[in-house]
């Protein structure tokens, strides 16, 4: 493991000034994530995990503390610089997929490259987008529009979109929240495959089942880290899928 962390949070605070009461959402979090890690950020609602996730994703700036993303001090950047960081360093996967409807899967995946500060030729954009779709197993459906794809397929498109700018970090916010259990396992399989290829992934979830597919679990409560440990008995997507199929067969036989 390299000594240079992808994420280095040092005593991060976040205070929201809403109305008369200040909400202290994150109270002094320090965290390091190294390349190749697969981290689950867990916690009940109100634990500050979404706030932390927004800050890690360079969508929001901390009120206090410092945040180095891939060696860049993100906590001092302005809006445009944050946008560039999001474009080059981070790939987002959302719970609700957040694809642009009425544009094909391919165009959705090409979209982040349009905002790349280093101009990418359109044929290269196409090649890279197709390669990313291939990686998530959607190569043949590049021309499909989101409404022609299942939830799992849409999430795969979103993952391809997150990967296309070759980010240092893949950031997933409840990526299986809108999916049934089998599709959830399939998507976690995609993440595991990507992680095996060396991609660093941080995932926010509140489901322990889902978190078991990761390598490291960080649990938050009231804006602080309460647990930070390696995952024991890590689930492997292929085996889980097999088991699920056997269970389904058993149910069918019984009925």
């Amino acid at each position: 493991m390299q000594t240079h962390p992808v994420i280095k949070l040092a005593d991060i605070h976040k205070v929201y000034h809403t109305g008369e009461v200040d909400v202290h959402a994150v109270r002094g979090i320090s965290l390091e994530v190294f390349p190749g890690e697969f981290v689950a950020l867990m916690g009940a609602s109100g634990s500050g995990k979404s706030t932390l996730m927004n800050m890690i994703g360079a969508l929001d700036r901390p009120s206090g503390g410092s945040y180095l993303l891939d060696g860049i001090d993100v906590s001092t950047l302005d809006r445009d610089a944050l946008a560039d960081v999001r474009n080059e360093k981070i790939g987002f996967v959302f719970q609700g997929f957040n694809l642009l409807s009425r544009t094909s899967a391919l165009e959705n995946v090409e979209m982040p490259m349009q905002y790349n500060r280093h101009r990418i030729q359109s044929h290269e954009q196409r090649e890279r987008a197709l390669a990313a779709l291939e990686l998530v197993g959607l190569g043949p459906r590049a021309d499909h529009h989101p409404n022609q794809l299942s939830g799992g397929q849409q999430q795969r498109v979103a993952i391809a979109r997150a990967l296309v700018n070759r980010p240092s970090l893949l950031l997933a916010d409840e990526p299986t929240g809108n999916l049934d259990s089998q599709t959830s396992i399939e998507i976690m399989g995609v993440f595991q495959k990507l992680n095996d290829q060396g991609i660093t992934i941080v995932m926010v979830t509140h489901e322990l089942d889902v978190a078991r597919f990761t390598k490291r679990m960080v649990i938050l409560r009231d804006g602080k880290i309460v647990t930070d440990e390696a995952v024991q008995n890590r689930s492997v997507a292929e085996k889980e899928l097999q088991r699920l199929r056997q269970e389904q067969q058993a149910v069918q036989l019984a009925s």
Partner: protein
């Protein structure tokens, strides 16, 4: 962010709501179309009038003899016996006068080639074609020598030539005016109708001396045509003529009237300028209304697509990228509207011109103005919604339902 990519996004967004886009553009389409259509038609009409005015000649001053009152008998301009050939020669000696022609008019039945025709017979000087800016199509104008010798020579207009000499060359032939044979030495170029609807080609021109001594027996001329050196000196020449004739006539009341071409031209252009201002006003109002429509729809569009804006920002779009995207969308909307309006306006005027037989001028300048101003309207009315979109917070935008 590339402009081409932005245009593609804009095109897709506009196609998504075809009906809405069309209705939004309608304000611009109607405004631009109405302006281009009416400008085509009015500038066609104006040009026709201007052509007719300039067909009277350039820098031309006309001296009419005054009103005629003798006992109970009264006549209008040109009927009083006050202007003479001597007046004409005196005027010819004035500064900045390049050509003069005393004009004597009469109607007569002319015969030639076994045919007859009632036409206007004019007595003029050889300067007449130059003053009237009227070319001799074939043959030549009669000469000063013809004037001095009271020669029986004539130059005929196109209409007379067509009536009396169908399929024949009239030059060298004889035309009989009041039973006197005149030798045709030239045919004037076709000039068409004048401002008062008279066929200017329906005329026979003879030396004024011949007219006054042979056809009629007159000592006075109806009017005097004077050509000034250029339009700048036309007023001073006009004053000089007035002073000269007052002195020569020694009458208490002015017994003549002096008019120039410029006055007529100014009256015509003043009308068309007033029309242009009116049209520009209508155009401005309709473009503003169209712009408000675009701004309204762009605001709706920004609200509808808050989530899309959030997604784009999350994957790295800068505020400027979002601003440009929505600006381009607004400009595309207004520019397409403007273009449709221009096409509609031009076709409308062409159709009217075709069925009503009116001349049109395709107003290239106005088309350019209309296109540019509809694009500018797009920028102005699109700016606020685009700015609003670019100022969205990505977290809030992503959460927007």
């Amino acid at each position: 962010m590339r402009i081409v990519a932005s245009l593609k996004i804009a095109g897709r967004a506009l196609r998504r709501n075809k009906m809405r886009s069309l209705l939004t553009m309608l304000g611009i389409i109607i405004g631009v179309g109405a302006v281009i259509g009416s400008v085509s038609l009015t500038s066609g009409a104006t040009k026709q009038v201007e052509d007719q005015v300039s067909s009277l000649g350039e820098s031309v001053i006309t001296v009419f003899s005054g009103n005629f009152t003798s006992g109970a008998m009264r006549g209008g301009w040109g009927s009083a016996p006050t202007l003479t050939v001597a007046d004409t020669l005196a005027i010819a000696g004035l500064k900045n006068v390049v050509a003069v022609s005393p004009e004597v008019r009469d109607r007569a039945q002319v015969l030639a080639n076994g045919l007859n025709w009632n036409t206007q017979v004019m007595g003029e000087s050889p300067d007449y074609p130059q003053i009237r800016n009227w070319g001799v199509a074939s043959g030549a104008m009669f000469s000063d020598q013809d004037v001095r010798s009271i020669a029986k020579t004539a130059v005929i207009g196109k209409t007379v030539a067509d009536q009396l000499f169908p399929n024949e060359n009239p030059i060298g032939q004889t035309i009989r005016i009041r039973n006197l044979p005149f030798l045709i030495v030239g045919v004037l170029a076709p000039k068409g109708f004048n401002l008062f609807g008279q066929d200017q080609d329906d005329t026979v021109v003879v030396p004024y001396s011949s007219h006054m001594h042979r056809i009629t027996t007159r000592t006075f001329v109806n009017s005097i045509l004077v050509q000034a050196a250029n339009d700048k000196v036309i007023d001073s020449v006009q004053n000089d003529i007035t002073d000269l004739l007052r002195a020569r006539h020694r009458s208490k009341e002015q017994d003549f009237t002096v008019r120039n071409q410029l006055e007529l031209m100014q009256a015509v252009t003043a009308t068309s300028r007033a029309m242009s201002f009116l049209l520009a006003g209508v155009a401005a109002v309709s473009l503003v209304v169209g712009g408000i429509g675009i701004m309204n729809i762009m605001l709706v569009s920004v609200t509808e697509r808050t989530r899309e804006i959030g997604i784009r920002m999350a994957v790295g779009a800068r505020a400027a990228d979002i601003l440009v995207q929505f600006l381009i969308e607004a400009v595309t909307l207004s520019a397409i509207g403007g273009s449709i309006g221009i096409i509609g306006g031009v076709s409308f005027s062409e159709i009217v011109a075709y069925f009503k037989d009116m001349p049109t001028v395709t107003p290239v300048l106005w088309i350019a103005i209309a296109f540019v101003s509809s694009a500018v309207i797009g920028i102005i009315s699109g700016f606020y919604p685009a700015w609003k979109a670019s100022k969205l917070d990505p977290i809030d935008a992503l959460r927007y339902e």
